[in-house]
């Protein structure tokens, strides 16, 4: 179970492959890997977004994500979890977040990855500030996680 906060761009697919390679003990035990990658859009609420700054609460953010993952591991009997989140200055297209879980069966993987992501969106202390055509604005709330 690993939580990483990066202040520089990261490649989620490289990180995923590296993490799986480092956990050879899982080979043969997992039948499902669910991966969510969230990336920065160049639009939000009918405005062009040129750049974004992500702020966090060092210490509390990592602790909160670890608690979410520990609970998910117990609830769904996961083999491993990896959560990576960006902070600092971002450009459109850059990955913001990676949530990956490994489990024996797909139901646990799907449910746990969604649970971790939704909890992160509603409780993990991160804040987005967008650069628009005419200045800046703080994002006041996240979009719903269901359609």
């Amino acid at each position: 179970m690993t939580v990483i906060i990066f202040d520089k761009p990261f490649d989620p697919w490289d990180e995923l492959q590296r993490y799986q390679d480092q956990h050879a003990e899982m080979v043969g035990r997992f039948g499902a890997t669910a991966v969510f990658v969230g990336s920065m859009r160049d639009f939000n609420e009918n405005e062009n977004v040129h750049a974004m700054t992500l702020e966090h609460y060092p210490g509390m953010t990592e602790r909160h994500l670890e608690v979410i993952c520990e609970a998910a591991v117990k609830q769904w009997q996961l083999l491993e979890t990896l959560v990576i989140h960006r902070v600092g200055d971002l450009q459109p297209g850059e990955p913001i977040v990676l949530v990956a879980v490994w489990s024996a069966h797909r139901a646990a993987a799907f449910e746990a990855s969604r649970h971790i992501m939704e909890d992160l969106k509603s409780k993990a202390p991160f804040w987005k500030k967008e650069s628009l055509n005419n200045g800046h604005r703080w994002v006041s709330k996240n979009t719903p996680g269901t359609t």
Binding site: H85, M117, L120, P125, F126, W127, K128, S140, N142
Partner: protein
């Protein structure tokens, strides 16, 4: 005998500070600290607070040496 306060994001901008220290007083609550910081202004409806990096309520009482954080609704992911 003090409380360390941290402010984040839009709240830090509106109060024009990111950190503060207040003398600890018995019976202090999260809400009373906010009133002190904001010169009596009501807390924003959706304000969030954490003591020692764990979520708390505005009515929660503080202990000497606590770290208290105020921030707006989170928007990560």
């Amino acid at each position: 005998m003090s409380i360390q306060i941290k402010l984040f994001a839009s709240l830090a901008e509106s109060l024009q500070r990111r950190e503060a220290t207040l003398d600890f007083e018995q019976g202090m609550t999260v809400g009373s600290v906010w009133s002190n910081l904001s010169a009596g202004a009501d807390a924003p409806d959706e304000i969030m607070a954490a003591i020692n990096m764990a979520y708390c309520e505005m009515e929660t009482q503080l202990q000497d040496g606590d770290e208290l954080a105020f921030f707006p609704p989170v928007t990560g992911g």
